[in-house]
C-alpha cells in the first residue's frame, strides 16, 4: 500500500538525443508533487518513465521500493488528450469496464463497481453515453474514473486539465484533491500552469531543459483543504506564485 516514488540518477537517451540527465527525486507516500518547466524539459518523458512506458537508459525508478520496468496495476496514468485516451466505440461504462476486464473481475461484479466509480466522478447519470456525446470535462472525469478502477497507489497525471476552460479546470482540480485525500495516493502531476501547480501541490519540482534535469524544489506551505478563492489570496500562495514565475522566466531566458 505504501508507494513512495524514488528516482536515482535517472537519465534517458532517445534516438541519440539526451532527454533526461541525472534526475534524483523523492516523493513521499501520499505526497502531491507537481512538475513544471519550459517546453522540452522532459516533463512528459519523465512521467512515461515513471509509468513504465519508457525505461530509462541510466539510473533507476522505484515505486514502493520496487524497480519500475513495465506498467503496473497500482500505477494509473491520466493522459492529457482525453479524446484520444478513451475508446470512442464504448460507452462511459464500457470505458471503465476496460480497466476492470484486465484485472479479471467477473462480469457480474463489474456493473455495481462501474456505477460506483462513475458516481465518484459525478458521471452516474451518463453511464450509457459515448465519449463523443460528452463535454471535455466529462471525458476527463471518465478517464479519471477508469484510473480509479485500477485502485492505484500512484497517480501520474500529464497536464490533465490543460485543454479545459478555466471554470471546468477549477472544478476538476478540487475533485482530484478530494479523491486524492480520500485514498491517500501519491501524485505526480505535470502541468504548465504555475498557479495550478502551487494550488494543488505539496511541492513543486522545477525542471530545466536540454537535457531535462531537476533545477529547483519549491515547498508548498499552504493549509489543506485548499480553497479556490481563499488559498489563492494568501500571502504564501502569492509568494510561491512569484518565485515560480521568476524560475520560469529565468529558465526560458
Amino acid at each position: 500500500m505504501t508507494a513512495p516514488i524514488v528516482l536515482r540518477g535517472v537519465g534517458l537517451v532517445l534516438g541519440g538525443l539526451r532527454i533526461l540527465q541525472g534526475i534524483d527525486l523523492e516523493i513521499r507516500q501520499g505526497e502531491f508533487a507537481c512538475v513544471v518547466g519550459p517546453s522540452g524539459c522532459g516533463k512528459t518523458t519523465l512521467l512515461r518513465a515513471l509509468a513504465g512506458l519508457l525505461p530509462p537508459t541510466e539510473g533507476e525508478v522505484l515505486i514502493g521500493g520496487v524497480p519500475v520496468r513495465a506498467p503496473r496495476r497500482d500505477v494509473a496514468v491520466v493522459f492529457q488528450d482525453y479524446s484520444r485516451a478513451l475508446l470512442p466505440w464504448r460507452t462511459a461504462a464500457g470505458n471503465v469496464a476496460l480497466a476492470l476486464e484486465t484485472m479479471g473481475m467477473p462480469a457480474r461484479a463489474q456493473a455495481a463497481r462501474i456505477q460506483d466509480l462513475l458516481a465518484r466522478v459525478g458521471l452516474a447519470e451518463h453511464a450509457e453515453k459515448f465519449p463523443g456525446q460528452m463535454s471535455g470535462g466529462m471525458q476527463q472525469r471518465l478517464q479519471i474514473a477508469r484510473c480509479l478502477a485500477q485502485e492505484p497507489n500512484v497517480l501520474l497525471m500529464d497536464e490533465p486539465f490543460g485543454a479545459l476552460d478555466a471554470m471546468t479546470r477549477q472544478t476538476l482540480q478540487d475533485e482530484v484533491l478530494g479523491l486524492v485525500a480520500e485514498r491517500g495516493v501519491t501524485v505526480f502531476f505535470v502541468t504548465h500552469d504555475l498557479e495550478e501547480a502551487a494550488y494543488l501541490g505539496d511541492k513543486v519540482i522545477g525542471l530545466l531543459p536540454r537535457p531535462g534535469r531537476v533545477a529547483k524544489h519549491f515547498t508548498v506551505d499552504l493549509p489543506r483543504p485548499r480553497d479556490q478563492l481563499a488559498t489563492r489570496e494568501t500571502p504564501e500562495f502569492l509568494r510561491l506564485r512569484r518565485s515560480l514565475f521568476d524560475f520560469m522566466r529565468a529558465a526560458e531566458a
Partner: protein, 253 residues
C-alpha cells in the same frame, strides 16, 4: 415529388430521344437497340430465369473470390500493420506481385483449373487481395499511439490489445476496404466471363453480342449496372448503420 421529377427528367428525356432516333432511322442495328426493346428483353430474360441464374453464377464467383482473397488480404494487412518488421520483410514480394493485372493470370489459371468456377474464383481472389491488404495495413498502422499507451498502462495482453483496441479502431476503415474489394471482385468476375469463362452475366452478354441480339446484350449491360449500384447502396447502408457513430477521428470515409 417535384424533386423526383426533376431528378429523372434528364434521363427520361435522353431515353425518349434515343427511342425516337432509333425508330426514325428505322434500320435494325447489330450494335444498338431502342430503349423499349432493351426493356422488353430485360423483362423476358428476368421472366425466364436466365438473368437470375447468370447473376447467381457471377455473384457466387465474386463472393467466393472475395472471401478467399479478401481473407488473405485482411490477415496479411493485420499482420503487416501491427508488425512493421513483417511488412518490410514482405515489401518486395508484395510490390512485385501487386502490379500484375489480375486478368493477365487468366491463361495460367485456365491451365491450372480449366473452365468453371475455380478459374474465376482464383482470378477474383488474386484481385481482391490487394485493396484489402493495403487498406487494412494502413488502418492498423494508423491506430492512435496514445490508445496503445492506454492499453499498455492497463496491461492488456496482446490478444486483448488486438481484439479490444486495434481491430475496433481499424474496423470502419477495413469495411471501406471491403467495399472497394467487393467492387473489384464484381468487375473482375464479369471480365473473366467476357474473356473466357462460359458462366454468368459476362458470358450471357458476350453470347448475345455474338449471336447479333443487341437488345439482349444491352439488357445484360443495364442489369449489371443495376446490380452493382444496388450492392454498393446496400454496403453503404450497412456501413452507416454499423459504424456511423463510432468512427474515430480521421477515420470517416
Amino acid at each position: 415529388m417535384t424533386r423526383l421529377l426533376r431528378a429523372i427528367a434528364v434521363p427520361a428525356a435522353l431515353l425518349l430521344a434515343g427511342e425516337i432516333a432509333m425508330r426514325a432511322a428505322g434500320s435494325s442495328s447489330d450494335a444498338l437497340a431502342p430503349p423499349s426493346d432493351v426493356a422488353a428483353a430485360l423483362a423476358a430474360l428476368l421472366a425466364d430465369g436466365e438473368m437470375l441464374r447468370a447473376s447467381a453464377e457471377t455473384l457466387a464467383s465474386a463472393l467466393g473470390g472475395l472471401a478467399i482473397g479478401g481473407g488473405v488480404g485482411l490477415l496479411a494487412g493485420l499482420l503487416f500493420g501491427a508488425v512493421p518488421a513483417a511488412a518490410r520483410l514482405f515489401a518486395i514480394v508484395v510490390e512485385g506481385i501487386r502490379p500484375i493485372p489480375a486478368v493477365a493470370l487468366i491463361p495460367l489459371a485456365l491451365i491450372l483449373f480449366g473452365f468453371g468456377f475455380r478459374l474465376e474464383i482464383a482470378i477474383v481472389a488474386f484481385a481482391a487481395i490487394w485493396p484489402m491488404l493495403v487498406f487494412t495495413q494502413a488502418a492498423v498502422a494508423a491506430v492512435d499511439t496514445q490508445l496503445l499507451d492506454v492499453a499498455r498502462v492497463l496491461r492488456l495482453p496482446l490478444a486483448a490489445r488486438l481484439a479490444r483496441i486495434v481491430v475496433p479502431f481499424a474496423l470502419p476503415r477495413i469495411f471501406v476496404a471491403f467495399r472497394l474489394a467487393f467492387g473489384v471482385a464484381l468487375i473482375v468476375a464479369v471480365t473473366v466471363e467476357i474473356a473466357v469463362n462460359p458462366l454468368g452475366l459476362g458470358y450471357g452478354m458476350t453470347m448475345a453480342q455474338q449471336t447479333l441480339r443487341p437488345a439482349d446484350m444491352l439488357a445484360y449491360l443495364v442489369w449489371i449496372g443495376v446490380l452493382g449500384f444496388l450492392l454498393n447502396v446496400l454496403l453503404l447502408v450497412v456501413q452507416r448503420t454499423v459504424f456511423g457513430r463510432f468512427l474515430p477521428r480521421g477515420a470517416r470515409p
